[in-house]
């Protein structure tokens, strides 16, 4: 290839010589480029796959500007010292203290604040607001259902997902990079705590509503919470709400005693159809019918009114515990 290129270049030069009196040498890719790149690739292959480099280690990185922009991006005003603290992990702080001690810095300047107490505060705020929000939006769902949905919203995976999409992955000061899901979740809770410290608990509530509660948008609630024994729960609910005794009845069947059997079961209480479902045998059909009935009683069907994420719950209704 290089031979062809040089031959073409030589021909071009000959043409130029014939045409004009000025000699212009053509510029080629230098001879050292290819072997150097090859050697670099060889060394990289020998080293094996490397861990990703932390963005904060780059030349173009200013921690202070990043923290400032973090707050402004979310439309909140943070105290930068609080925010810095919210992004400092406990293990990192201990390591930093150890490093300073070795350097011979006085014991009074050694303290590096970490985010554990802020995270605890933020956790309380988030839990209280999520519970209040769910109680307001799903008034008919029983306690265990609300608990399951709140546990989903406050789980490490959900919080880590939210946290990483708010850009805290690069800001977290941790002993490992990329930070683990636990440290991402903890830093998000610490940010909520820092927000409550900086601009009041109401702003922290709105933050929780806008970033954590919105994860329920378009979510199938049956995926989040499916009752273990739906028929039993339905019977219990019917007894509590005085709807009469729940009774499963066969509405239709086809292909009995074949592999393609299908049954449709309806659940009645006090001559009212609560819900209907189908399945390949009577047991699953009754179960799906019970789940359907529960969904209509709890008002958690797919076609329910969507969640209202613009509501402002009064602070006195949110119980901080």
């Amino acid at each position: 290839m290089s031979f062809l290129r040089s031959a073409a270049g030589f021909l071009a030069r000959v043409k130029v010589l014939e045409g004009a009196t000025t000699v212009q040498t053509r510029r080629h890719i230098k001879r050292w480029v290819s072997p150097t790149l090859r050697e670099l690739a060889h060394r990289q292959k020998k080293l094996g796959p490397q861990k990703p480099e932390a963005r904060s280690g780059f030349l173009e990185w200013n921690q202070r500007s990043e923290l400032f922009a973090f707050g402004k991006r979310l439309g909140e005003s943070f105290e930068l010292s609080q925010l810095q603290r919210a992004f400092t992990e406990k293990s990192f702080a201990r390591r930093e203290e150890e490093r300073r001690r070795k350097l011979g810095i006085e014991e009074t300047d050694l303290q590096v604040p970490d985010n554990s107490d802020l995270a605890e505060k933020g956790h309380h705020i988030a839990r209280a607001y999520v519970n209040a929000f769910l109680q307001h939006q799903l008034p008919k769902v029983p306690k265990e259902g609300l608990q399951a949905i709140a546990a989903y919203l406050l789980s490490t995976e959900t919080l880590a997902h939210v946290s990483s999409h708010l850009g805290s992955k690069d800001l977290i000061q941790s002993t490992e990079y990329p930070p683990t899901a636990e440290s991402l979740a903890q830093s998000l809770q610490a940010v909520i705590g820092a927000l409550a410290d900086s601009s009041g608990v109401e702003r922290a509530f709105l933050f929780v509503r806008d970033f954590i509660c919105t994860q329920l948008n378009q979510k199938d609630l049956l995926d989040v919470w499916t009752p273990q024994d739906p028929l039993q729960l339905l019977e219990k609910i019917c007894k509590e709400r005085k709807l009469g005794e729940a009774e499963p009845r066969l509405l239709g069947d086809c292909g009995r005693n074949t592999v393609l059997a299908a049954y449709q079961v309806g659940i009645y209480a006090n001559r009212q159809l609560l819900g209907k479902g189908f399945g390949e045998d009577l047991k699953t059909a009754t179960e799906t019918a019970a789940i359907d009935g529960l969904q209509s009683i709890f008002d958690t069907h797919d076609n329910r009114r969507p969640f209202d994420f613009a509501i402002k719950l009064e602070t006195k209704n949110v119980r901080l515990g």
Partner: protein, 192 residues
């Protein structure tokens, strides 16, 4: 889709983290402007930095702006997004107006929009609004009160004509035709 797009990443238009449901968050988190201080190809970038960059940074406090001079290299815009994507863009010989427009584009997207082939212009998590089909869906009213086994319902929908039936039909037709001829002969005789 042409052949050059075969290996292009494909996807659907999606907003990350339900953006805009709660509040809108600008997805561009930092932008780096790399340029040369005396090369001609960086002229527009230098003009942009001189005239517009401070205003841009003031208007967008949520975007961190880094400016990185380097010798004899092409001017470059690098945008980093909240979802972890990074977009590199050469601005060689661009004017400051062009660079303003490119920066505006980076500000309003969440990843390189030109490196994603949109499979559809819309997306839904729930494609079917009526749920799965069952044999009990849209049943005819007659089948509601049907008692099985029933002779009417057990018959096949279409029964082809058997050979015997065809023979009988042919015989009847012949008889009929013969009958008409015999009739005519009788009539003639009567007229005589």
């Amino acid at each position: 889709m042409s052949n050059s797009h075969l290996f292009l990443k494909s996807g659907f238009p999606r907003a990350p983290l339900q953006n805009g449901v709660g509040r809108y968050v600008c997805q561009l988190q930092r932008i780096t402007l790399k340029f040369c201080k005396n090369n001609g190809s960086s002229r527009g970038m230098r003009d942009f930095i001189e005239n517009h960059l401070v205003d841009f940074a003031k208007e967008n406090p949520g975007i961190v702006v880094y400016v990185k001079p380097r010798r004899h290299r092409t001017p470059v815009l690098v945008g980093e997004y909240l979802n972890g994507e990074r977009e590199w863009m050469s601005c060689r010989n661009n004017t400051q107006e062009e660079i303003s427009k490119w920066v505006d584009l980076l500000k309003t997207q969440n990843g390189s929009s030109s490196s994603l082939r949109l499979r559809k212009m819309w997306h839904t998590d729930v494609p079917s609004i009526q749920g799965p089909w069952t044999p009990f869906l849209l049943r005819s009213p007659e089948s509601q009160g049907q008692v099985y086994p029933s002779e009417e319902a057990s018959k096949p929908l279409e029964t082809p004509q058997t050979a015997t039936e065809k023979l009988i039909e042919l015989f009847r037709q012949q008889q009929l035709e013969a009958g008409e001829e015999a009739h005519e002969v009788l009539n003639k005789k009567r007229a005589e």
